[in-house]
């Protein structure tokens, strides 16, 4: 279920590893699987036509011998009857199921029209409204909002970027790095306003909590996502900010009452991609990761574990993401959230050419680099992958 990066990766893996039975891929969007990261980059900037997003050619999809059902949303799951219910009333029976239904954007209250940026159609709709002199209000200065603001400035739009936190991205990458990244907005003429809360979207802009109207011709709301799990309500699976899975990416049944013993498994329901909340044993933490690379890797892992139940492997990746803003390439490996300490280990923050390391407990939890050569980053990624201690990995200098 879900015909984006994770679902595609899963069906390709099943075929590659020899599964030749019936295989159904269901997606709620009308488009065949496409790539989302360029939506807030090349597509919004009109640098690419949207056919460049297509993840696989028609021939490649045909070769997978799929029952491909697009424009078809899932509405329910009968776990014991092993059937998925679709919006058009049909039922799809299964022996194994991979849930990859993704997330959808959070929205804000109010009567005014606001764009979101998740699907190809979202990106094309916003693109059509941007240009020289247009006034765009972006709510949320996370990676998506920051990328959209950067593109809109490049197109000549006047951009107001509103962020509730005192430092954009501070919770994700630390305040010092967040300040460095957001300084680029100011240099490029974005009106960045931090510590402001938006109450609602109105005609002609957004209304702040203190009553002020911030005017704009267009409003983009980029305030995070919600996992698409409503169709799993009452299914018997555990849902809690995502579909809850064990370290094998197998969904976990709801266990009645508080018991410490592991809940019984589902007999072949796995999850992958943005919707999956699983236990990553490498970090000993429950994670739900909305990154492009995780979708592909987890789709592959879930498919393998479903296909080879006697040889299952825990899914223990080093998360990776990148972001492009004003020509800066930001790359991060590891699990940065909830870090205890940040240290500059290479380069210089002020020059926007640096690599910072993140400590959690006594371990190196992750690194983030801007403008660094790939080989410099790779060594640090390896240090994260082997769970190096902070003391071994980071010299006792440069602590922020």
């Amino acid at each position: 279920m879900g015909a984006s990066a994770a679902g595609l990766s899963a069906v390709e893996t099943l075929r590659r590893e020899g599964y030749d039975g019936a295989l159904t891929l269901v997606g709620d969007e009308p488009h065949p699987p496409y790539d989302r990261p360029p939506l807030s980059k090349q597509i919004l900037a009109s640098e690419w036509e949207h056919d460049r997003l297509t993840l696989r050619s028609t021939g490649e999809l045909d070769a997978l011998k799929l029952d491909l059902r697009l424009g078809s949303a899932a509405t329910g799951l009968d776990l014991d009857g092993r059937e998925v219910l679709l919006a058009d009333g049909t039922r799809v029976a299964y022996d194994g199921l991979i849930v990859a239904t993704g997330v959808r954007p959070r929205r804000l209250p109010g009567d005014g029209h606001a764009h979101v940026l998740r699907t190809l159609d979202d990106a094309l709709a916003l693109r059509d409204r941007l240009g020289e002199g247009r006034r765009l209000v972006v709510v949320g200065a996370g990676f998506l909002g920051a990328e959209a603001a950067a593109v809109a400035r490049g197109l000549g739009a006047e951009v107001t970027l509103l962020e509730p936190a005192p430092v954009p991205l501070g919770h994700a990458v630390g305040d010092e790095v967040g300040r460095v990244l957001s300084a680029a907005h100011l240099e490029h003429g974005v009106d960045l306003r931090t510590g402001v809360t938006v109450r609602e979207v109105t005609e002609g802009g957004v209304r702040l909590a203190d009553g002020e109207l911030v005017v704009g011709d267009e409003v983009l709301v980029a305030v995070g996502s919600l996992p698409n799990t409503e169709w799993l309500a009452d299914s018997g699976l555990t849902v809690g900010d995502g579909l809850v899975c064990d370290e094998y990416c197998e969904a976990v049944r709801e266990s009645p009452g508080a018991t410490k013993s592991p809940a019984p498994t589902t007999g072949g329901v796995y999850a992958a991609g943005d919707v999956a909340r699983w236990h990553n044993p490498l970090f000993g933490a429950s994670m739900r990761i909305e990154h492009r690379t995780n979708a592909a890797e987890q789709g592959m892992a879930a498919a393998r574990n479903l296909l080879h139940p006697q040889a299952r492997k825990p899914f223990a990746p080093v998360p990776y993401f990148w972001s492009d803003q004003y020509g800066m390439k930001v790359q991060a490996f590891g699990y940065l959230r909830g870090h205890d300490e940040v240290a500059v280990v290479e380069g210089d923050l002020a020059e926007r050419r640096f690599l910072v390391a993140y400590r959690r407990g006594d371990r190196l939890a992750g690194v983030l680099a801007v403008g660094m050569p790939p080989k410099a980053i790779r060594g640090w990624r390896q240090a994260v992958a082997v769970r190096s201690t902070w003391r071994d990995a980071v010299p006792a200098t440069g602590v922020l």
């Binding site: 790539d35 990261p37 993840l55 696989r56 690379t293 592959m300 990148w322 390439k329 790359q331 790939p374």
Partner: protein
């Protein structure tokens, strides 16, 4: 089998190098992927398939030839 790399699509993640270091490398200046072996030996193909699957930009293809 022949490997095709759509260079303008590459986002310099370096996932291909980790999956298949014999076939891929990255440019030092911008991290864009470099193809070391256009027609890799059979024993390298599993790694290449892994790279195709995890490339976050869908910039790698493995084609029959």
């Amino acid at each position: 089998m022949r490997v095709e790399l759509d260079e303008p699509k590459c986002v310099a993640a370096g996932q291909c190098v980790m999956a298949s270091p014999e076939v891929f490398d990255q440019r030092d200046d911008d991290g864009v992927a470099i193809l070391l072996e256009e027609q890799p030996a059979d024993e390298l193909l599993d790694g290449v398939r892994e790279a195709v699957a995890i490339c976050p930009a869908a910039a790698i293809r493995l084609v029959d030839q």
